[in-house]
Amino acid sequence: MHRHHRAAALAATVLTGALLATGCSSSSGGKKSEETANGASAGKATTPRMTVALVTHQAPGDTFWDTVRKGAEAAAAKDNIKLIYSADPNAGNQANLVQNAIDQKVDGIAVTLAKPDAMKSVLAKAEQAGIPVTGLNAGLSQWKSLGLLEYFGQDETVAGEAFGKKLNDIGAKHAVCVVQEQGNIALTQRCDGVKKTFSGKTDVLYVNGTDMPSVKSTITAKLSADKSIDEVVTLAAPIALTATQSVSDAGSKAKVATFDLNKDLIKAIQENSIQFAVDQQPYLQGYLAVDALWLYKNNGNYSGGGEQPVLTGPAFVDKSNVDKVAAFAAKGTR
Amino acid sequence: MTTNETGTHGAVLADRAPEKDSPVVELRNAGKAYGNIRALHGVSLTVHPGQVTCVLGDNGAGKSTLIKIISGLHQHTEGEFLVDGEPVRFSTPREALDKGIATVYQDLAVVPLMPVWRNFFLGSEMTKGPWPLRRLDIERMKKTADHELREMGIVLDDLEQPIGTLSGGQRQCVAIARAVYFGARVLILDEPTAALGVKQSGVVLKYVAAARDRGLGVIFITHNPHHAYMVGDHFSVLRLGTMELSAERSQITLEELTNHMAGGAELAALKHELSQVRGVDVEELPEEADLTAPVAVTKEAAS
């Protein structure tokens, strides 16, 4: 038993070595064929070095937040800012991260308000310490009352409503809204928005977003259980791509449309397997939230005059404008 | 292809008939020190095939150290340890097993949820077929286990039943039968009757006798002189790491053995003390003179 085991392991090692040695390289795809392009950076400000903390409620490994962060980093690079990024999906921990930034005496804080009440006291401390705070992505209805300078984001309900209207325009009759994280407020608002304006019927379907095969078969099950569904609405790009497989597995005629973007999704729009995507422009959110702190410090500006939020979405990406977006998405910045 | 594997214990010793008088295992003034603590000192012991050597002693008398030396878990630090007349020094229990010395520990014997036959062959399974398809020869194992158990006089309804469903005594017996089958010449039984009731103890003693009658040398560790006297041919009593008594069956009575176990000389001293206390009846306690059975007094032990 021992011996055979070792022999098998040895064989595997030798095989790998042989494969590598003989240059078993791929002639298509792969890193070599990827076009390397640098992120958007146009010159650099000569203002004094400042430090900004960006604290979000990102769950680990979310492509969306990765784009937010890239936007923030681009702004930081341009404005001669040292950016400290930290994130925790747990509201209490996120508040601690903000406290941490205050303790580090940063020059500005950009924060998401996924659970505003948990952030209230720590934001008051920031105000006492004289640190300007901008909001982004989540907290549309509370940013003002919590004393934030300005807010950059998408109104999820407004985006959902716009989505619903678009569905009306393309003539959908029965939609299913796929929620990948049960109990997430923003996702629920999107579905509610769709339901509000969409004139057809809207079902909600919960899937387990951390297990793709499960997502795939659950959507398949829904589509074969109810053949009248002609539109799958997903709330994140990877889920949308999986939904297209479910549609073909179930032999359904449903179309797929989604919130949020990534580069594979753009390819899918170009190839017609996904109808359209609603982009809230996460890159823009990250970029503006950091850039605004620079503007405030160096010129006293603030967008929206402290009264109105700055809406970064909804921006529709479909066949008509996808090519324009595609170039940027390839870099992971859209 | 059929392989007749009985594991690393070596082949089944179908034919074992060494002369009765040459000891299989012998300790000569052996001892063991852990650092500067002497756990065992000046112990001489012989184990003959077809005889039961009982080692008695209270807790902490050095019984387990003695077992550990013979079973290969620990090494002796003084004296000699001979197997078949050759000096040996085991570094693992495996080496002891290879010499035919098997130990049946009280709780280490079996895996309760596994069937009797799987337990019987655990670690030395019989297989058949070439490698990728080499598989257990279940038929043969069951048949052999059944046969061997019957040889020992153990009859079970169903070898498929988990061994945990057997009584404590039966489990000991299966472990003994197993050791016998896998070529043990010397069987070390560590307190096999300690946790058992009267009836169960009787069952185990029966199989100790059965093992003896099959020509095995048995080292029977116990603190119960009654159990020891029922099967023993030779008795050694350990106290505080040294040998207090070493007697053939013909040289000692159960009563004397019991007294030795109960404390021997110490008991006499205790009797003397108790006699000073009013209300304690010491008449029935044995006198010191009663306790002078042939005591093994080696030169070193006397010092």
């Binding site: 038993m1 070599k32 499960s214 078969s217 099950a221 | 596994m114 257990l136």
Partner: protein, 356 residues
């Protein structure tokens, strides 16, 4: 009082006089069958299936069954080795993220080095085996509970998945490898479908059943299987009779690695890219699948076929609720009830098995 005679106890009477010890009456076939843990879960699975046949008409379609089996198979392929590991007395909490680690390794190796995807597939297998070896080696060498050791590697892998992906690709998901050499071939092995009577059945279903069959054979018919039961049932006894405990445990952890690798490859070749944050929480589904399937949490008892039904029950309930059109909010509650029921059956089994 003198007893200088021969020892009082003589050897037992000549053997072969009676056929049984007459202590227990022959138990009826049904009782004996019911005492098998995999029969309990089999009946449970049948009950759930019949229930949804009635409650959810779409389940009656063969294609729906194919879909349910697909979902079950992606869980079941890892549940089978996880079950063996549990019978061997250990846990693996890192299996869920291990799936993603494997997929990421394959994808990034192939893409970054512009190699044939099979190179990535083999690299991923080596990585998965290494993780399994590490888990097993730590458990055996330190004697720490595997719960703690694999909780550690679960967290480590979660972090490594993210950090390395970010470092290598600049994103938190890997690049699409669907145009690379060998992809179509690998997809055939790991993520294709078969046509059975007009119904598309995913290949993972076949692999799942095949692996479960092999595992059953190994468990019940080989030395190694005997050792698995022994190291889980009583590690010290097993060691005392010469079972290679360290080898058995470490290899079991490595088998879980193989299962995770297989599902990782399936995910990679069916979705083309991998999100580095996935896989968290799935490890508990694998473990519950094994427990529902009759594997004892404390080790030493269970089967490889029970977890097949355990995984099927998961898939059936998860999809059944959707087919029935119910509020899926109840899904977790259903799972909880199933799990508790399974644990109670296990408890009962253990008591019956050890009752005298």
């Amino acid at each position: 009082m003198t007893q200088h005679a021969e020892p009082a106890v003589t050897s037992p009477p000549a053997p072969g006089l009676k056929d049984t010890d007459g202590r227990s009456a022959e138990r009826s076939m049904i009782v004996r069958l019911l005492a098998r843990p995999d029969v309990g879960v089999f009946l449970g699975a049948v009950a759930v299936y019949v229930f949804f046949l009635i409650a959810a008409p779409p389940v009656r379609d063969a294609s729906s069954m194919a879909n349910i089996l697909y979902q079950s198979s992606t869980l079941g392929i890892v549940t089978v080795p996880v079950a063996l590991l549990m019978i061997g007395g250990e846990f693996d909490l890192s299996a869920g993220v291990g799936v993603i680690t494997s997929a990421l390794t394959a994808s990034m190796t192939a893409y970054q080095l512009s190699m044939n995807v099979w190179v990535g597939v083999i690299a991923a297998l080596i990585a998965s085996l290494a993780i399994g070896f590490f888990n097993g080696w730590m458990v055996v060498k330190t004697g720490l509970p595997s719960f703690l050791v694999t909780l550690g590697s679960f967290l480590i892998l979660q972090g490594v998945n993210l950090a390395v992906t970010k470092l290598v690709t600049g994103n938190v998901a890997t690049d699409d490898i669907s145009t690379m050499d060998g992809f179509d071939q690998a997809k055939k092995v790991f993520a294709s479908s078969f046509d059975i009577g007009g119904v598309q059945v995913k290949i993972t279903v076949f692999w799942w059943l095949l692996f479960a069959a092999i595992a059953t054979w190994v468990l019940l018919r080989t030395k190694y299987g005997n050792w698995i039961f022994a190291v889980g049932g009583n590690r010290e006894s097993a060691r005392a009779v010469g079972v290679p405990v360290a080898f058995t445990k470490i290899s079991l952890f490595m088998l879980v690695g193989v299962g995770a690798w297989f599902v990782g490859m399936h995910q990679l070749f069916s979705f083309n890219t991998v999100q580095s944050g996935e896989g968290v929480g799935i490890e508990l589904i694998y473990i519950s699948g094994a427990v529902i399937g009759g594997c004892l949490l404390t080790g030493g008892a269970g089967s490889a076929i029970g977890p097949v039904f355990g995984a099927f029950m998961f898939g059936m309930v998860q999809q059944g609720i959707v087919y029935a059109g119910w509020n899926p909010d109840w899904f977790k509650a259903f799972l909880g009830v199933m799990l508790l029921g399974a644990v109670l059956i296990n408890l009962w089994v253990q008591r019956t098995a050890t009752r005298r």
